[in-house]
């Protein structure tokens, strides 16, 4: 495992305006390889806007997003050519949607879903693609015999795990997750979180995870950013932020969870 002090991602002064309204404002942070950053806040606080801007899906009004590419070193993702950016998005990056239907192809089999990224980067050997897909199915705890089944025959939790496998097959270094456990029941959430934590650790993934669920944030993330009305109001180590919140809003957020 190679650990460097070079940041993998550097976000500087990012602002996204929707006309006069603020999407997110003046957000800056760095992310190092293997680091998990949680972004929490109530709905409408700009979490998803921020995630879209960082993940090159929506160009921000102001500010830069720089990424440490494998070949060319640090690059501004919005200055790259579209071809480069799309290549980056389907090889070195991954995006896990809240609704697995947004991230899966529902009309092709699980194996084809996992194999798509491999074929997109030029893999042309059916046997190899299939065995890779099969081994990834195992890693996300789906039985091998479901390899040729359509995702629509899968349960919600399985679809979410399939989406994760499909994204991780090209060994990305940075994964964006938008409420990955939303819409799943509590026991399935717990298993998914367990699985994610294992994968993040084993593959040394850097993750930016957006959630409104503080329990998810506590379990997965090393660092936490709390957002309110488009601004980052508190930023620090997860334990620190959750156990000793400084900002009034963070205190409210933390105290609003049922304590046992």
């Amino acid at each position: 495992m190679t650990q460097t002090n070079e940041p993998l991602l550097r976000v500087d002064d990012l602002t996204m305006m929707y006309g006069d309204r603020v999407g997110c404002k003046d957000v800056s942070f760095e992310l190092r390889p293997g680091e998990v950053l949680g972004i929490v806040g109530e709905s409408g606080s700009g979490k998803s806007t921020l995630l879209r801007s960082i993940s090159a899906q929506q160009e921000p009004t102001k500010g830069t997003v720089e990424y440490q590419t494998r070949i060319d070193g640090i690059c501004d993702v919005y200055q790259m050519s579209e071809a480069q950016r799309r290549l980056l998005m389907r090889t070195d990056w991954a995006f896990v949607h809240q609704n697995p239907r947004d991230g899966l192809r529902m009309n092709v089999s699980a194996g084809a879903n996992i194999g798509e990224r491999l074929m997109a980067i030029g893999d042309r050997h059916y046997g190899n693609i299939r065995s890779d897909a099969d081994s990834w199915l195992g890693k996300v705890e789906i039985a091998s015999e479901r390899l040729d089944d359509l995702p629509s025959t899968f349960s919600g939790g399985m679809q979410q795990r399939l989406q994760i496998a499909r994204n991780l097959v090209t060994s990305p270094r940075l994964v964006f997750m938008d409420e990955p456990t939303g819409g799943l029941d509590v026991s399935v959430q717990a298993r998914l979180l367990d699985l994610l934590r294992g994968l993040v650790h084993d593959l040394n993934l850097a993750v930016i995870i957006v959630t409104h669920d503080l329990a998810v944030a506590r379990l997965l993330s090393h660092r936490l950013m709390v957002m309110q009305q488009g601004k980052v109001i508190e930023h620090g180590l997860t334990d620190q932020v959750l156990d000793d919140p400084q900002h009034a809003y963070t205190q409210l957020l933390v105290s609003s969870i049922l304590q046992n």
Partner: protein
């Protein structure tokens, strides 16, 4: 160049030459030139309403109308046959509106409009093959967004095409796509060869004749200039191959042509016959006989010998 067809009743002009007006033909020719310049690229064009329903070859008819001249000889085939409704009516359409000579002989035609097949006889440099295309976008069934498929073509993102082939092998054990089998043109664009059987894909590669594709409903034109590299997509461990038949043509005994299956009764009897009617007729004229030819009693001992 203004050419008109006179109305025989009163001598006034009934149609402009080849039905379309000159401006429209010029517009289509511009699209064709662009298509030839960028092999496999789908060029949008302002497709006109034609006096036939979409799906009956409105795209092919417009392309033919734009390239046909008074000295051309037209052949029209549908499923390889010259005598099916669609082929007959399109042939009559041009005989009436352009007063061109028509033929059923592949060798005599200068323009061949086709729905599915490429004639078995090798085409020459002085011939043009016009395809009627229903859905020009090979990525359509996997990616419904037009904006996205255009981007994929622009950036050569063709992984998705292999997802379809992967899915075929996963479900059927082999690539079960038998028609509209996707091809890579000139190492650049993935192209849908229209609903031609994959049997004809190898003929597209390095063909001497100019190949033009017209999709009327979708309003797209694309082309393969003569001697263009056309490669069918496949996997390293599942290479592309064409259909084969154990039988020979029942009429002419051909073993190298694309055969249609004909059900003879409800007792399970069937026969195979060349899909290319001109090829079959020419072979029969040359004395070749298949087992079901009426000159040849069924079960004759020397079946197929005439084909030697």
């Amino acid at each position: 160049m203004e050419q008109t067809v006179k109305n025989p009743a009163d001598g006034t002009s009934a149609y402009n030459f080849a039905y379309l007006d000159e401006q429209t033909k010029r517009m289509i020719r511009r699209a064709l030139l662009k298509a030839v310049a960028i092999p496999g690229y789908q060029v949008p064009f302002a497709g006109r309403e034609m006096p036939m329903p979409y799906g009956w070859g409105t795209g092919g008819v417009q392309v033919t109308a734009a390239v046909i001249g008074p000295n051309d000889t037209l052949k029209v085939i549908d499923q390889g046959a010259d005598d099916t409704t669609n082929a007959v009516s399109i042939r009559q359409f041009f005989a009436k509106t352009a007063q061109v000579a028509t033929t059923e002989k592949t060798a005599e035609a200068s323009i061949i409009q086709t729905r599915h097949r490429i004639p078995e006889k090798e085409l020459r440099e002085d011939q043009v093959l016009v395809y009627q295309v229903p859905i020009p976008e090979p990525l359509r069934f996997l990616e419904p967004r037009e904006t996205e498929t255009r981007k994929m073509h622009a950036l050569e993102e063709y992984g998705l095409m292999h997802v379809k082939l992967y899915e075929d092998i996963a479900r059927h054990g082999h690539i079960a796509t038998t028609y509209a089998y996707p091809v890579m043109v000139d190492d650049r664009y993935v192209m849908d060869p229209s609903p031609t059987p994959k049997f004809d894909n190898p003929k597209m590669n390095d063909m001497a004749a100019l190949q033009l594709f017209g999709a009327g409903r979708e309003k797209r034109i694309y082309a393969l200039p003569p001697y263009t590299k056309v490669k069918s997509l496949d996997f390293e461990d599942h290479p592309f191959d064409v259909q084969t038949w154990e039988d020979e043509c029942g009429m002419c005994g051909a073993r190298d042509s694309y055969l249609d299956e004909v059900i003879l009764d409800d007792q399970g009897n069937r026969m195979f016959v060349c899909s290319d009617t001109d090829y079959c007729a020419e072979r029969q004229e040359a004395g070749h006989r298949g087992p079901q030819h009426h000159d040849q009693p069924l079960g004759s001992a020397d079946r197929g010998k005439a084909a030697q």
